[in-house]
Structures are given as structure tokens and as C-alpha cells.
């Protein structure tokens, strides 16, 4: 029921919204919950397990019941709390977990079965047989018990992430938070004020209180105006700080668009912030807790403070006849405010025998509410008076206050445990639990408004080591409470309405000896739902304490973990989704390759052309044609992706001698050498060529895959192992575009683009040097990864596209053209060059036949450990070639395993594995590389290649690991 003269809603902006297919009216400034209550809708959902009718309990993010699906189609947002969802025109909300309708839910039969569905029911009933659990029980249970579901479709919307930095992060904008922010702001500090609500002010918006002689909301507005005008302050509404992490970092979710009918162009739906805060004041307030009694989950039973929120902030009376059940002064305040607003209060029930309160309504001191009545909504309550007599009291709303729990959650995220405060019968944050964070106001157990204002100013002053500012006048009553948790009696008294956990379930856990609070939590699932037990935890601890004869601090708390409220996974991902999941590295020939219709393969972040199909060609036909083209004429391939590291300095040569197994100090200027690098444990890390361009100047090439790893390794060697060496290096992978030009006609092509003489005398095999490439200063290396006479020619990257086109045009004039990764791979397998398919981190230099490359004349990284017994010799699997006995054999794939001819196929008889395989158009059959036990001594032997994943077996001859041009004449010719 809407009340005139109350609330901060904008009555000049009416809006329409839809709930479960019916249209209703509300106002701008409403939440979905306040608008539903204004329309006298109390039944808003069905419970998780028993499908009991449920209503709105709170007016904030701790809401356990009022979970809705907002919106329609792909972007529909399930499990949204109606109590925090801002109303907008055209909002469409659906209740969850009820079928066919809220009023008639067939699964309500679960409620009748409740005696069989208590805590531990799943574990006991559905354990056996195991197969049926997965196929039958679990799907049925998941369907019957559940929350809302995502659409399963791409919502087409974007999310974002970002970093923020500040001297002072203030979490919460109630009286304590506002004073903390003001204190920091006036001292010129960089302040972030984060408020989860869409309005600043916290409970000042929800009480009939004055601050500094003004109504609460007016004082809030004046403070926010001052903060907004300060350039050093960032005000963040709709921003929930969800986690506290190491080193003063906090996670925060900013809802950008959930309050808007549609997403503004270019805006993210939500932004996940990582806030690096010098100091933090936690002023997140407190949550009012309920009292457990029979059927206390009936729609209409709600927090006493929520009733005041609806009254003062939204101008809504959640009932026409309201009763109050309270063990502290806050419930009395609700009754007084309702009476002042003209709402009938049918009774105030307080278990305490005496209080100072005197209101013009029925007051039952020393009484308790024993039961709520009304199936789909509260009709009346049973009250037991001090003399034991039970009476019925009319009530369509029962406002309950069992005291307040400071929101200690963030202070527990780094493993801190809260302290029990007898004064307020609640847990309070342990000082220092999160380094740099100070709790203030209600979050620290300071419940009076003046106390909150004061403690906020003090906390900020202490955090920043500055003077506190003057604190305005406000209410400063002391808080009086007598702990009271549970009304004993038959039936179910709910502690955790979201997970349908009742006092009985906690007792069952105790009876079955789950006495540790963490065990109780897992057995009953109490506090494990989306509200993370904000409403229920302390009540359950109190029951546990009584059952075990301990006091509450002895029982302890369960662990609070991030996030404080649910965060969409998409918000964590931010822009790292779809095409921007990760960066794309494009080669200099990317545009040309796309023009030529290339298919691409991803190599790390790189997109490399894999093959260039001509009309009618599949990948294999294209690969075969490109391979043959290189063997017969000339091919051009983009090899820019290989790591290039420019190394300079007086000690460059010494440095390379120590990181490569072989010698580089002896390499002549103008020559290139193949080098092998080990990890310190003796296994091969990477290989590649290294060119000496000058006396103190080398350019190292790494594999594409290991470029980053090698760079980090070199930095480690230089900075950590040998800082005394005078050597500097930098990655120039992105600075130089580099192309392989390979084939019998390679020199004809190179001669056409390079100004200098490229005869064998000037540029012999493994020669290198600076050259002029079509008028541009470049570099030429006579190296080959195909076995053909070949070059790699490099120019500054900005000329890469032009050079790719120039080389391709000339190659085509010579009968050649572009070739891709597939052909490049076939060429290198035919020739016997290795890649990381072979050096996969488990092989030694000796395994790949390069044992003698580990120089005996010097130390290098990995040398000592590579000499360990067991890392070389006949027990090792050594690199060999494989040729199928039947040249038509098609089943030869990397990953297959090797066995001796007559051996049984068992793991124990395994003799090795295939690392690379391809169809060789040059030889007309498949070829492969394998690691075979004692393989070098077994050339000529026949082995079985067994591929268990493909179900094939092929007989192969073992050969030397090189098929093409074993004498090397083509390379040098």
C-alpha cells in the first residue's frame, strides 16, 4: 500500500512494469520490491527445495527470497534480487522456481514430504546405485530444486574491467561512510566512495532522523554535492565491493545498465573494477537478523528495518495490519514509525519482560510469536504470553528484529575471523584482519547515527593520519538487546530461507555428529546459496552453540569468501570474450595472405597462413602442390613469427657461449650457426639459428612457440646468474618482417631484390649480412628450414607487406609462389629438422642426436645435469625416421606408440612414440619422426606403430631421421 507524504520516490515519474505477465505501476526511485509491495503483492517466489510460498524479507542485497529473472530473451538476468533491482519503464520480471504458477506450484508436494527431505537427504537416499545418480536422480533434483536459469545464448552485450587507484577507499555511504569520505576529501586525498545502492545515504534514507538539523536525505544530498564538486573524489553508485585481496586491492562490480530499459550504445552491461587502495574504511553497515519460529517464512514476515525502509524511502506500507516481534529497541522504532504514519500496529511482542517503551498499541512484554499462519501470505500469528496462554493476533505483515549483524564479510576474505561482542550480541570485525582496512559505523557495531558519523570520521583520520573533521548533531541512543534466537516448538522454524534450512536441520546435523560449524554448513547447506548466509549464519551458530553447550564465539563462524554478492562470470572476463578473448598477432603478409584465400592456423597469438588453396584444392592438395613447388622452383613463406632477439655488448659472445650448448664466440662475423639451448635440468629448451652481424652484435632466432620463454630465460641468465657480463638485448620480433625464400630458383629471386652480390663467394651457405632490399636497408641470411637452397630476407616491419608482395610476384614469375605452414612442416620433416613436436620438454640433446653439440670446452646452462646417467644411452628413446612398409599406408599420426614386432601391446612393452608425421609428396608415401628406445642402433628394423585412439596399426621401417638430401648438396648448391 502506497502512503502519501512518505518516501523519496519521484511521484511525477510513473512507470509501468510487468510481473509474471501482469502489468503494474510504480514510480522512478522504486525498487522492484517496493513497487510490488505498493501493489500489495506479497507472494513473489517459491523456495529452493520445498517450494514453499515466499515473500520479500529485506530491502537490500541480503535478500534471500525475492530472486527474479529480469528481462527477456538472451540477455534475461536470472536470480536478480527484487530488493536491489531499480524499477524502470517496461521492466519485465518473472518469478522463479514455480510451475505452473506461483499460486499453484505442483512441486509444493516437496513440502509435504519434508520429513523425508531434511538435511543430508540427498546423501542418504540417492547414493546408490552410482550410475543412476548421474542419469536420473541428479537431473530430476536439479530440475525440481533450483534457481533461475541463464538463457544459454550469447547476450550480445559487452562487459568491461578496469583498474582504479586511490588513497582512501570508502565502502558504503551511510553516515559513517559519508563522514569518512568527507574527511579524506577535505584533506585533499584521492577518495573513492563505493555504494552498492543506486542512492547514496545508507540507512539515512530509511529512517525518520535528522542530521545537523536537516532531514537525513537532505544532509546526504548536501554531503554528496560537496564530494561531487571535489576533483579528488570519485563517487561510485551501484558499485558493490565484492572482495578484499592482498596488498590493498579490492574487487568491485559496477552495474552500468541493469537499471536501464536498454543498453546505451557502446556501454558495458557491468564493469568489474580492481581497486588499489592505500587505505580503506569499511562502512558497509549491518544486516538485521530474524528470529526463528514455526513457519516464519510465510510471505509478509520481514525485517523490522526493511519495513522502515519501505515506509520512509519508498512510501510503502508492507501491510495494513502490522505486528512487530523484537528483542531489541529497533522493532519498537518500527512500530512507532508505522503508528506515526497512520498504519495499524496490531501488537508489539518483545520477549524481554520489561522495556522503557510505551506505544499506543497492544504491547506484549515477555511474549513470543510461536507460529505464523496463512498459506500464500500471512493472515495472523500465534503469540504465547508470559503466563503461557496462546492468543491469535491479526497481522498481514510481521516485522521482526532479532538484532543486527555487522557486515563483517570483507574483513574475513583474507582468512580473518571476527570477534564476538557481548554488548550487541553479534560478531564485529577483528582489527587488522585486512591490512590497511578499518571498519566504522554499524559495520563495526556502532549502531547509533551519531556514533556512526563519529566513527567514520575517526576511521578515515586514523587511516590517513590526519585530523578528523567536525561531526554533526544526530541521534545517539545506546543500543539495548537481549539475545533471543529461536522459539522452541513443533514444526519448522527457518534459519536460511534461501536454502530451506530450518532449526530441525541444524539439530539433525548435530545428532549425526556434524558438530564443527564447517561440517554443519556443508551437511545442511546453510549459508551456501547466493546470499551466502547474510541473514542466517549467526542464528544457526546460536542454535549450534546451545546444542553443544558452548557459547557462540566458541562455536566460531564459517568462512566468508568473495564475492560478497554474486558477480556475473562475464564481468570477470570483461572484454576478454569472443573475438577479443585474446590479442591477435598478424604477420606482415596477413593482408596478402587473405587476398590469396589462405586458411590460417593459430600459433600462440599469431595467425599464420597454413595453406593457399587454388580452386578445387583441399588442404592436402594445396600442401602437396606447395611442397613440390618449393622442391622444384621457389617458394615464399612468412617467418616473421620466429622470435628475434638482438644481442649486443662486449660480453655478447661470452654470454651466448653460456646459454647455448655450442660455441658462438668462435663464430665469424657474417656467419650464422645453429644453436641448441638447454634448461638447467639438462633437457632441451629451444633451438634456432644465431647470426653474428658484428664483433659485438648477434641476432638470435628462437622458435615461434618459445620466443617469450627464451627472452625471459635470457633475462634471468643476464640479471640473476651473470650480472657482471656487459651485454644488452631486446626482442625485435615485431620490428623485422622476415620471409623465407626457398627452392632451386631462390637465388634467382633474391638476386632480383637484393642490391648486393649474392654469389656463393659473398653469401655462402650459413652466411649473413646487411643488404639493400629494393632500396630498403635489410638483412639477408642464407639459412634453410626446407633442405633447399634458401634465404631468409628481413626488412623493417613497415616494409613487410610491400616485400611480401614483391617476393610473391617474382616467385610466381619463376613458377613458384607462396607456401604456408603445412608445406613448411612437410619440408622440414622430409629434411630432418626438428620443432617443438620433437623438443617437447622431455628430450635431451642426446635423444635428438645432438649430444655432441654440448661443448666439452665450456660450461653452459644445463650442461652438468645433462650429463646425469639415464639421460643418454640405450635406455633412452632416440629420434629416428619411420617409413611404412606399405607405401599406401594412411594411418601414421603423431601420438601413436611403437612396439617391437612380436611384443604384446601393453604399457610395459611400449618402445616410444611418434612426434611428427605427414604425407610426403616428394617420396609419395607417409613419413614420420619417432622417439624409439635405443633407436639409433635400430635403423633397418621393422616396428609396429599402434594408434589406440584411431584403432590402427602400421608396420614401419626404422630409418635415419632425415629423408631428403642426406648429403646436403642442395643446401650448399
Amino acid at each position: 500500500m502506497r502512503l502519501q507524504g512518505f518516501g523519496q520516490i519521484d511521484r511525477s515519474s510513473p512507470v509501468r512494469f510487468e510481473f509474471d505477465g501482469r502489468s503494474y505501476g510504480g514510480f522512478a526511485g522504486d525498487t522492484l520490491a517496493s513497487a510490488l509491495l505498493a501493489n500489495d503483492i506479497r507472494l513473489i517466489g517459491r523456495s529452493f527445495k520445498y517450494h514453499r510460498p515466499r515473500g520479500i524479507v529485506t530491502a537490500g542485497s541480503e535478500e534471500p527470497n525475492a530472486l527474479m529473472t529480469i528481462g527477456q530473451g538472451a540477455a534475461a538476468n536470472p536470480n536478480t534480487r527484487a530488493t536491489t533491482q531499480e524499477l524502470y519503464d517496461g521492466l519485465v520480471a518473472r518469478s522463479q522456481n514455480a510451475w505452473p504458477s506461483l499460486g499453484l506450484d505442483v512441486m509444493e508436494v516437496n513440502d509435504l514430504l519434508a520429513p523425508f527431505l531434511g538435511a543430508g537427504f540427498y546423501y542418504k537416499t540417492f547414493m546408490w546405485p552410482k550410475a543412476i545418480w548421474e542419469k536420473l536422480y541428479e537431473p530430476v533434483i536439479r530440475h525440481a530444486a533450483g534457481l533461475g536459469a541463464l538463457s544459454g545464448q550469447d547476450d550480445g552485450q559487452s562487459y568491461d574491467t578496469g583498474f582504479l587507484h586511490c588513497d582512501l577507499l570508502v565502502i558504503g555511504s551511510g553516515p559513517a561512510g559519508l563522514m569518512a569520505a568527507l574527511t579524506g576529501a577535505r584533506a585533499g586525498k584521492r577518495v573513492i566512495l563505493a555504494e552498492e545502492d543506486f542512492a547514496f545515504g545508507g540507512r539515512l534514507n530509511a529512517e525518520a532522523e535528522e542530521v545537523a538539523g536537516q532531514p537525513g536525505p537532505a544532509w546526504v544530498a548536501s554531503v554528496i554535492a560537496e564530494l561531487a564538486a571535489a576533483p579528488n573524489v570519485r563517487l561510485m553508485r551501484r558499485t558493490t565491493v565484492t572482495g578484499a585481496y592482498d596488498g590493498g586491492t579490492f574487487g568491485a562490480l559496477e552495474q552500468v545498465a541493469e537499471h536501464l530499459p536498454s543498453l546505451p550504445q557502446g556501454a558495458p552491461r557491468a564493469t568489474f573494477w580492481r581497486i588499489a587502495a592505500g587505505r580503506t574504511v569499511l562502512a558497509g553497515g549491518a544486516h538485521e537478523r530474524m528470529i526463528a519460529f514455526r513457519d516464519n517464512d510465510r510471505p509478509g514476515v520481514m525485517q523490522a528495518s526493511a519495513v522502515r525502509s519501505y515506509l520512509h524511502r519508498y512510501g510503502v506500507a508492507p501491510g495494513r495490519k502490522v505486528a512487530v516481534f523484537t528483542n531489541n529497541d529497533d522493532g519498537w522504532r518500527t512500530a512507532a514509525d508505522l503508528i506515526a504514519a497512520g498504519v495499524t500496529v496490531t501488537a508489539v511482542i518483545d520477549p524481554r519482560a520489561h522495556t522503557q517503551h510505551d506505544l499506543p498499541c497492544r504491547m506484549i512484554h515477555g511474549g513470543v510469536v510461536t507460529r505464523a499462519h496463512g498459506r500464500l501470505g500471512l493472515d495472523n500469528i500465534t503469540v504465547r504470553k508470559p503466563d503461557g496462554a496462546e492468543i491469535k493476533v491479526d497481522a498481514d505483515c510481521l516485522a521482526v528484529s532479532g538484532g543486527w549483524n555487522p557486515s563483517v564479510h570483507l574483513t574475513c576474505h583474507m582468512n580473518g575471523r571476527p570477534d564476538w561482542s557481548e554488548d550487541i550480541a553479534a560478531f564485529v570485525p577483528r582489527p587488522g584482519a585486512v591490512p590497511g582496512l578499518i571498519a566504522a559505523g554499524a559495520a563495526n557495531g556502532m549502531f547509533s547515527t551519531h556514533g556512526a558519523l563519529r566513527s567514520g570520521a575517526q576511521a578515515a583520520a586514523e587511516a590517513l593520519d590526519i585530523k578528523p573533521i567536525k561531526v554533526p548533531q544526530a541521534e545517539d541512543a545506546t543500543f539495548e538487546i537481549t539475545p533471543f534466537w529461536h522459539v522452541e516448538g513443533p514444526g519448522r522454524a527457518f534459519l536460511d530461507p534461501q536454502n530451506d534450512v530450518s532449526v530441525k536441520d541444524v539439530k539433525a546435523a548435530h545428532q549425526e555428529n556434524f558438530r564443527s560449524v564447517e561440517h554443519m554448513k556443508r551437511y545442511t547447506t546453510l549459508g551456501m546459496a547466493t546470499d551466502q548466509g547474510k541473514l542466517s549464519n549467526v542464528g544457526a551458530l546460536a542454535i549450534m552453540a546451545r546444542l553443544t553447550g558452548r557459547d557462540i564465539p566458541e562455536v566460531g563462524t564459517t568462512t566468508f569468501r568473495p564475492p560478497y554478492t554474486p558477480v556475473p562470470i562475464a564481468a570477470f572476463a570483461g572484454r576478454a570474450a569472443r573475438d577479443t578473448f585474446r590479442p591477435h598477432r598478424l604477420t606482415p603478409s596477413d593482408a596478402l595472405s587473405r587476398e590469396r584465400g589462405a586458411e590460417f592456423i593459430e600459433a600462440g597469438l599469431w595467425h599464420r597462413a597454413a595453406w593457399f588453396p587454388q580452386p578445387g584444392e583441399d588442404w592436402l592438395a594445396a600442401c602437396n602442390r606447395e611442397t613440390t613447388m618449393v622442391r622444384e622452383t621457389v617458394g615464399v613463406a612468412d617467418v616473421t613469427t620466429l622470435g628475434k632477439i638482438d644481442i649486443q655488448g662486449p660480453d655478447a659472445a661470452v654470454f651466448l657461449d653460456r646459454v647455448y650448448t655450442n660455441m658462438f664466440s668462435t663464430l665469424k662475423v657474417g656467419r650464422v650457426r645453429y644453436g641448441l639451448m638447454l634448461r638447467e635440468d639438462g633437457f632441451v629448451m629451444d633451438d634456432g639459428t644465431c647470426a653474428r652481424l658484428g664483433d659485438q652484435h648477434y641476432v638470435m632466432t628462437t622458435t615461434t612457440a618459445a620466443a617469450g620463454q627464451v627472452m625471459v630465460h635470457l633475462q634471468f641468465c643476464q640479471q640473476v646468474l651473470w650480472p657482471e657480463l656487459d651485454v644488452r638485448f631486446i626482442s625485435v620480433t615485431d620490428q623485422w618482417a622476415q620471409f623465407a625464400v626457398a627452392g632451386p630458383k631462390a637465388r634467382d629471386l633474391i638476386r632480383d631484390v637484393v642490391a648486393e652480390d649474392v654469389s656463393d663467394e659473398s653469401f655462402p651457405y650459413m652466411g649473413c649480412g646487411a643488404v639493400t632490399v629494393l632500396g630498403v636497408p635489410g638483412r639477408l641470411f642464407r639459412i634453410s628450414f626446407s633442405g633447399e637452397h634458401a634465404y631468409e630476407v628481413a626488412v623493417p616491419a613497415r616494409y613487410g607487406d610491400a616485400l611480401a608482395r614483391a617476393l610473391t610476384e617474382r616467385a610466381e614469375a619463376l613458377g613458384g609462389g607462396l607456401y604456408g605452414m603445412e608445406a613448411l612442416n612437410v619440408l622440414r620433416i622430409e629434411k630432418g629438422y626438428i620443432t617443438h613436436a620433437e623438443i617437447d620438454g622431455r628430450v635431451t640433446a642426446d635423444d635428438i642426436g645432438m649430444g655432441r653439440m654440448v661443448s666439452a670446452k665450456k660450461d653452459c646452462v644445463g650442461k652438468v645435469m645433462s650429463e646425469r646417467p639415464g639421460l643418454h644411452g640405450p635406455e633412452r628413446c632416440q629420434l629416428v625416421g619411420l617409413r611404412p612398409l606399405n607405401p599406401d599406408a594412411a594411418a601414421l599420426h603423431a601420438g601413436a606408440h611403437l612396439f617391437a614386432l612380436k611384443a604384446e601391446i601393453t604399457p610395459d612393452t611400449d618402445q616410444g612414440w611418434l612426434s611428427s608425421a605427414c604425407y610426403s609428396p616428394t617420396f609419395g608415401h607417409r613419413i614420420a619422426y619417432a622417439f624409439l628406445k635405443n633407436g639409433r642402433a635400430r635403423h633397418g628394423e621393422t616396428v609396429r606403430v599402434v594408434d589406440r585412439t584411431k584403432g590402427t596399426e602400421t608396420l614401419c621401417d626404422v630409418t635415419a631421421p632425415m629423408f631428403y638430401d642426406q648429403e646436403g648438396g642442395k643446401l650448399r648448391g
Binding site: F163, Y245, D246, G247, G248, T249, R274, A276, M414, P435, E680, D681, M711, V712, Q715, F716, Q719, V720, L721, P723, V864, M865, E867
Partner: protein
Amino acid sequence: MRLTCPLCGPRDVREFSYRGDAVLTDRPTTPEGFHDYVHIRENPAGPHDELWHHGAGCGGWLKVRRDTVTHEVLSVALAREARS
């Protein structure tokens, strides 16, 4: 978590990668030492010297003293300067 790189200032932990125990700074000069150097590590609950790499920053190798229980970072130095 944040680390204060001596060259780059305070930065988010995502810019860094963890290598392990700082015993790696003391590469043995004789073969006998390599087994322990490569394989043997202490696993203390408390202050621990370790190596971090500022890959998304200056490329520097840092020697970080960190409490493995609280994650408190006690000191950060360039590994090249922290060598004894």
C-alpha cells in the same frame, strides 16, 4: 596482490610471474651442487625469498621477500643487486 618494482613502482600482480625460490641466484660452481640447486627447495610457512619476473613491465628479475602465510610483501629488490 601488488608488488613494488624498484624500476616501475607499485604494480598489480598480474604483470609479474613467479619463478620460485631465490636459491636460483646461487648457481653452483662445481657439478656436485647442481642436484640441490635444481631440485631441493624449502617450503617455509613464513618469510621466504623468491624470484619474480616483471614480464609486463621492465623485464626485470626481482628478489621478493614474502610471508607465505599472510602474503605480506616484506621487501622487493632487483635480483642483480640483491645477489650476495
